[in-house]
Each structure stands twice: as C-alpha cells, then as structure tokens.
C-alpha cells in the first residue's frame, strides 16, 4: 500500500544531509518545551498549542537551512510560530467554537451562604483578562513579560515598529490593571503613560 502526499516543501529536502536531520532533531527535543509554553500562553488551549508548535516545526523542517543561518535559531522559530498564530487567528471566522481551558474539571460545590465571588482569585481574573486581549496584544505581552524580550526584539518578532509594540503593551496593561489594585512600578508606569 503506498501513499502519495502533497505537502508544500522546498526542493532541498531530498538533498538534506543527515547532519541537518540530527541538528533538527536536537533542536526539537531541547526547544519544544519552551515553544509549547509560548504557544499555550498565546492560544490558551492545550490542543491548539500542540498544533501550533507541531505545524510550525514541520513547516520549518524543509527550510531548516534558513533557521540554522539565523543568528538566534530559537528566536527565529518563535517568530515564525507567533506569525503563524496571528495569521491563523485572523483567518478564523467568528463562529469558531473555542473553549477556555483554564477551568478544566468542575467547580467545588460550596456550602450555602458562601459568597462565590469572594473565592475568585485575582490571578484568575488576570488570566481571564489576558484572554480578552486581541491576539497581537497578547503576543506582545507574552514576548515582553514572559520571555523578557526588549521592545525592539518584540517588534522584530511581530514584524512591526517599536512604537507599535509600546502601543500594544500600553493598551493591554490598561485592560489588565482593572483586575486589581496594584502597587506602582516604573515599568508599568512607562507603558501606561502612553495609553491612547
């Protein structure tokens, strides 16, 4: 029984040296964990995160020579993944059924008289508000505050200007600060100063 596939790949696949395969495999084994975390924070959904990571690396495999030529391979791969995420979201219609995986399982049945709203953790509120952000805002937030990338590298990853990154982060933080009363900080103030 034979199979013919019609994947869109570069012609250099047929001539790929075994050394490149080993380097690709090594990258996959060592970097998938961090890519999965990034993907999960972007998609907020386990299966979608897996799909995003897998599809991105499968797509990059025939183009691995380009990845190896990049100054920072992980940044290159992550940028491709973020772009794939943003492009994919833009294609989805509004009827997509999307379930927030942050509440797996079932709620505790509380004894009568307890105020459920008092049980809601501020962190849950912030996590939920992150889901309300636009995909580009969330991507900027994840790259800036989870990966601690400077604005210039966030701009590189999002293919936009530094000013745009600051604007995305400003608006996102403006949304997130409604989840609680926070102490002042220089970083937050810097971005929130530019909210429009």
């Amino acid at each position: 029984m034979g199979v013919v596939g019609t994947l869109d790949v570069d012609s250099d696949l047929a001539a790929s040296p075994s050394g490149r395969n080993e380097r690709f495999a090594a990258f996959v084994r060592t970097r998938t964990d961090t890519l999965m975390k990034t993907a999960f924070l972007l998609t907020r959904n386990g299966p979608d995160a897996e799909e995003l990571v897998q599809d991105n690396l499968v797509w990059l495999y025939p183009r691995w020579a380009q990845v190896e030529a990049a100054e920072h391979q992980l940044a290159y791969v992550r940028k491709a993944m973020v772009n794939r995420f943003l492009a994919g979201k833009r294609k989805m219609s509004a009827t997509e059924v999307h379930f927030d995986e942050s509440f797996d399982g079932f709620a505790e049945v509380l004894p009568p008289g307890r105020d459920e709203t008092a049980e809601v953790d501020a962190r849950d509120q912030m996590w939920r508000e992150l889901g309300v952000l636009s995909e580009r805002q969330r991507a900027a937030i994840v790259l800036r505050f989870f990966h601690d990338l400077p604005d210039a590298e966030v701009a590189e990853a999002l293919d936009c200007r530094v000013g745009t990154v600051r604007s995305l982060i400003s608006r996102a933080l403006n949304t997130l600060r409604t989840t609680g009363n926070f102490a002042d900080d220089a970083v937050g103030s810097y971005y929130l100063r530019n909210v429009t």
């Binding site: 294609k91 219609s93 997509e96 509440f103 399982g105 049945v109």
Partner: protein, 376 residues
C-alpha cells in the same frame, strides 16, 4: 482584590504560573519527528514528501468544511447518535476559510502483497500498543467502487484497556478478500472512532480525543476507481466538556439502596464531548474510605459492549454513570458508610463534593452513557 505587587510583577507571575499548564512536549516531539525525519526515511515513494504513517488524516482541530449527514452507527453508539443529532448542527463550528491542512491521498500499492484471500481484519489493526490491551472490531459498508462495482468495507478496530477505555482506533478500508487497501485513521493517533458514515464515495470518521480537544469529523473521498482516498479538512464537532459548561450531581439509581447515578448535564449552548469513567471517591470527613472500581458493567447495568462510549452532549442533554453498591461484603456483615462523595470527570479535573452517604463495600462505577439510566 488588593496586592502588594505591581501590575507587571503580577502579570509575570500569572504568565509563569499558567505556562506550567502547557502540554507536556514529549508527544509533540514524537509527532514532529515522525512527520519530518522519520517520514523522510521510511518513504517508499520516489517523492520524499509522503507520510506513510498517517494516511490521509489531517489530525488537527483547525476547522473547515461541512459536516457529514446521517450516520451509519458503529458499535454501541445508537443512543449517542440520537442525542447527537438533536439540533446539534446549529452549534457546530463550520468555518468558511480553508486551513493549511495538507490533502493526502491513499493509493493502492502497485503490489498488493496480501493475496492469500485472508478475510480477517487487517493484521496491523489487531496490534495494540500494549499486550494487555483488548481489541474490538466492527465493519461498516459496503463502500461500492463506482467504476468497478467492487464492494469494499470500512473496518474499525479499537484497542481498549482492561476497563474498556479506548486507547486508540484504527480505521481501514478493506477489500472483499480482507486485505487492507488504505488506513484512514492510524491507532497510534490515540483517537477513539465513535462511528463511521458511508455515503456513496464519501467516508466520514467521527473520532474523539480528549487530548486533541473533543470530537472531530474526518472526511474522506474515494476516487471513482477506488484506488485513492483523499482526506478533506477536519471539523470539530464538539469540544471537550469542561467545568464551565456542565453541571454534576448524584441521584438515586434505578435500584434503590444498591445504585446511584452520577449525572452530567450540558449547561452550555454548544455541544460538548466526553468519554470514560467519572472518579467516584467515598469519604468520611477528609478520609478516603473507598474509590469506586471502574468496570464496564455490573449486575445492575452499565455499558452493553466492551468499549466505553463517546458521549456527545447537545445543550441540555444528560449523561449518567451507574454506581453500584454492595452493602454486605466486608466480611463482618456490616458495611461502613461514607458521609460525602467526591466526583471528578475529566483530567485534570476539579471536583464536586456532595454530602451523600454511601456504603463503601463493593463500590464500582460504570462508564458515562447518554441518558438518565446509566445503562445503554
């Protein structure tokens, strides 16, 4: 809520905490390597782009296309099918834009090596991941080849563990002599095939995977000469049932003092899917007295068949799992009672703890099934 942290400190903390909920990478690593390096090295075709391991199945929840219509029901799914088609199409996600899903074709090999006329299910389908797994098989058909009139069949082989929980299904198109012509769903994908629809040359496999996020339709089209099976875009039919969209409770079962029912109701406006057993723990205070044994069926009911069914709950629909009790089996003639029952469904799951007294002897629970009786 007041915090001593700054906004950005709290944000970083939240992101780090939730990043730990990301899926384990090991399965993704295996899949990536299988779809790239291993696929290259195992190809038999001149074109190095094919994927012989996964044949014609774009296993991704990116959704495009139109759901199939009336089903030919597969093993143990009759009641499920009825529940599923109750007004479910209105809430089915159906995106209009194509995804990047690769179209794959399964072709009959030029040399069909199985010429012995063996009419058994394809041998590959009988191999489960673990030696202790059990196998159940069903056949759907006929699938008639337009140009030749040959009658093919679709064989679904499902591997299950000892409690009947499916570990993966394989769906093969089989010739009249029993030789496998194409594998539409590979069992290593750990998808439970719920049922198969055959309409002319169109085959749709509905499969469930909690890991992939719910129940999906995988459509295929047979070529007029029956030598190729082209995969269409996958469509998610129902997402996993999660905390926000179900309500869980316990009520008395059909046989008083011997049975209880775990009841799960879909409170959402969309269908959701789940399969397997709830975890039922009998407690006294905070002490675990007994954890119900997961058994496919018992003296008072349960699942007819050997596979825990996939349950798709349309809005408002109910699924139940039968809990059986035996009050006199602790050897002393007295069976201690718990004062609370903790029920968990899904993994990871938060739990529902209900103040219900249950004898703890001989506690067993059967799989979730559609309807209110705990049996199908």
């Amino acid at each position: 809520m007041t915090t001593n942290r700054s906004l950005t400190e709290e944000l970083q903390s939240v992101l780090r905490a939730h990043s730990l909920d990301a899926p384990e990478p090991s399965a993704a690593i295996d899949d990536i390597l299988a779809r790239t390096i291993e696929a290259d090295s195992s190809d038999e075709q001149p074109a190095p782009r094919s994927r012989p391991r996964v044949l014609g199945l774009p296993l991704r929840p990116a959704i495009v296309g139109v759901a199939a219509s009336v089903a030919i029901v597969l093993v143990g799914a009759a009641v499920v099918n009825t529940a599923r088609h109750k007004g479910s199409t209105a809430s089915t996600a159906s995106l209009s834009e194509g995804s990047a899903a690769a179209t794959q074709q399964n072709r009959v090999g030029a040399a069909d090596k199985n010429s012995s006329g063996d009419s058994a299910a394809p041998s590959a389908a009988a191999e489960c991941a673990r030696p202790s797994d059990r196998v159940s098989a069903s056949t759907v058909g006929p699938l008639t080849v337009p140009q030749t009139g040959a009658r093919l069949s679709v064989v679904v082989t499902t591997c299950t563990d000892a409690s009947g929980v499916a570990t993966g299904s394989q769906v093969d198109v089989v010739s009249q002599t029993g030789s496998s012509l194409a594998t539409l769903v590979d069992r290593t994908r750990a998808i439970q095939a719920d049922f198969v629809i055959v309409e002319g040359t169109r085959i749709t496999v509905r499969g469930y995977s909690a890991r992939l996020g719910g129940a999906f339709d995988y459509p295929f089209t047979m070529s007029p000469d029956g030598t190729a099976f082209t995969a269409g875009p996958t469509q998610r039919y129902a997402a996993n049932c999660v905390a926000d969209n179900v309500r869980v409770s316990i009520k008395n079962g059909p046989i008083r003092d011997r049975t209880q029912l775990v009841q799960v109701v879909n409170t959402d406006i969309y269908p959701c899917a789940l399969a397997g057993y709830p975890t039922v723990t009998a407690l006294s205070g905070s002490t675990t007295r007994a954890v119900a044994a997961a058994t496919i069926a018992g003296p008072s009911g349960g699942v007819s068949g050997s596979v825990a069914p996939v349950v798709v709950l349309t809005p408002g629909a109910v699924a139940t799992a039968l809990v059986e009790l035996d009050t006199q089996t602790d050897g002393t003639g007295v069976c201690p009672a718990s004062d609370r029952v903790r029920v968990s469904v899904g993994a990871p799951a938060r739990t529902v703890t209900i103040p219900v007294k249950l004898p703890v002897c001989g506690l067993q629970v059967h799989p979730l099934v559609p309807g209110e009786t705990g049996s199908n």
